[in-house]
Symmetry: C2
Subunit: 326 residues, 2 copies
């Protein structure tokens, strides 16, 4: 407990090395590490420090790394401390990670007021989700003002990131034709701000057209209670020329301020906390099945079921009764 207090103190003082070690702790699957991590999180939660959590999704090729580099540097220049976390369900398979190559964020990674952390290599998206949420809490305690949570636009990772963000930003590239790049309706409905990147040089007209298409599409969606007039919105940016980045940050602040004033900001966080509690509950309950004595019982039952001596449902019931201590 002594050790935990010391680490907590260092993190609260913004020490990046301690933050980094603490994230490694929450990412560990070792039971003792998990216990320490839980204690640390509980300790740090007392600080009630909070950052603006910005979810950012973009498929490979939209210039996400370049955008984060430029956008992050702009925030640092404004005197803000910026943390970048990644949720990448594919990193478990590839062994790599979207943020593994920090050289793609050459400047930002060397900034004293920036912190970049690749996605944990976990097989379960649920595991990645929990660890990333805990990393967000750690970053907030470590005095970061903005936490960017980035993900690639595949599968469920966008939903997961949106459920842990105050604002959800969708980064897109200019479309060739007049079609909407196959962005799924569900993703459109999660977006607060759509940024069409690469609005520079030859691609500028295409970016402007794509932006107009998305703005039109957003107007067709039903208005959500968490949106002020003019939101969700689409705008063009260029990570390369940095055009529009300032304006994008202004829009994010406008939206966040409106939500704070109307109480929506806290409402969203509360509803997210309830969501993750339910998820943690389900995952945690299922993880009971991995406890050694339960695994042993389950294997025996499975053999009886295979032999036809016991119906699957009846065998399942016996295991569940054992878990419930009956």
């Amino acid at each position: 407990m002594q050790q935990i207090q010391v680490t907590a103190e260092k993190i609260l003082n913004g020490d990046r090395r301690s933050l980094s070690r603490a994230i490694t702790l929450v990412e560990s699957s070792r039971a003792d590490h998990q216990e320490q991590a839980a204690q640390l999180i509980a300790e740090l939660s007392k600080s009630k420090r909070t950052a603006l959590r910005i979810g950012l999704s973009g498929t490979p090729g939209v210039g996400k790394s370049t955008f984060i580099e430029a956008f992050g540097m702009q925030l640092v220049a404004l005197g803000l401390r910026v943390a970048v976390l990644a949720v990448d369900p594919s990193s478990a398979r590839s062994g790599g990670s979207i943020l593994g190559d920090k050289t793609r964020m050459d400047y930002l990674s060397r900034e004293a007021n920036a912190f970049i952390r690749p996605s944990p290599s976990q097989t379960h998206l649920g595991g990645v989700a929990r660890r990333t949420r805990e990393a967000v809490t750690l970053c907030e305690a470590a005095q970061f003002d903005v936490v960017l949570i980035e993900t690639v636009g595949v599968g469920q990772s966008e939903t997961i990131v949106a459920e842990m963000s105050d604002l959800f930003v969708l980064l897109l590239a200019p479309a060739g034709g007049d079609e909407l790049q196959g962005v799924k309706r569900g993703i459109m409905e999660m977006a607060d701000i759509i940024l069409v990147n690469k609005a520079d040089g030859d691609l500028k007209p295409a970016a402007t057209r794509t932006c107009a298409d998305y703005a039109g599409a957003l107007r067709l969606l039903r208005k959500r209670p968490q949106d002020p007039d003019g939101f969700p919105m689409a705008m063009t940016v260029s990570a390369v020329t940095q055009n529009g980045l300032e304006d994008a940050w202004q829009k994010m602040q406008d939206l966040s301020n409106w939500r704070k004033e109307t109480g929506k900001f806290d409402e969203i966080r509360q509803s997210q906390a309830r969501f993750w509690f339910q998820e943690d509950l389900k995952q945690g309950l299922l993880s009971v099945l991995r406890q050694p004595e339960i695994v042993k019982l389950t294997q025996k039952m499975a053999d009886d079921v295979a032999k036809g001596d016991l119906a699957p449902a009846a065998a399942a019931q016996r295991v569940i009764q054992t878990i419930q201590g009956q």
Copy 2:
């Protein structure tokens, strides 16, 4: 228990009305009904009676009802008793069911040796799966020789049906062009026999061509240990003219006999039983969260989490400890 014995006796004697009531019992979500159903299943399992379980998948428009009617009548003519069960994840939403309209199987539904049962109206596909498996057990105890388990080709229902069938048959319509109707690779890999229906009249050439395409595609798949030479296979049938139905039944018997002789038949059933045990275990464990005292605790915890007094993971852990009686 007395009552259960009487019902079991009637079902074992092939009484269709008792069978029908017993299926209603397994479909009920009432706890006392569930208990009675479990006792009945346990009692009937002792008979060790077994039928050939044929999974049949086909999207709307392939002539599935007409096929089942004609194929079922053929089996009945051979002196076999035939039960038809449906797994339809959409019936919960539509309120209807693919087999709800029994008039589409006018002859078969009036046969003394046939039994047709629509899909239970359940919201969870997992619930439909468990109830259908139990209905299969009931039909087997009631002396049916063949149990046809049919499903529409949507979402996960095909996987579920394949996991409870001895043979999996995919029913297709002749394709217009030379493309493979967008049948997903995963479904192709589950199929033991592909039947291209409507091989009659003007559609006969298209059916023959489609069949050749699928036969070619099947040859490209890796050989599975449960396949004798020549399987998985594709052939044409016509539910309307009944051409090919006899041959299709012969192929099903050939495959089933080979698997029985080589021990593969039992191996598949054992592996399916293990699979369903694991599924029942997961679903059953999660259903503990719906027990009244757990719901009450969970709601209180969720409020604390929303207020920020407790981290989601810590709150989840407390509920899980309560469930484990700690």
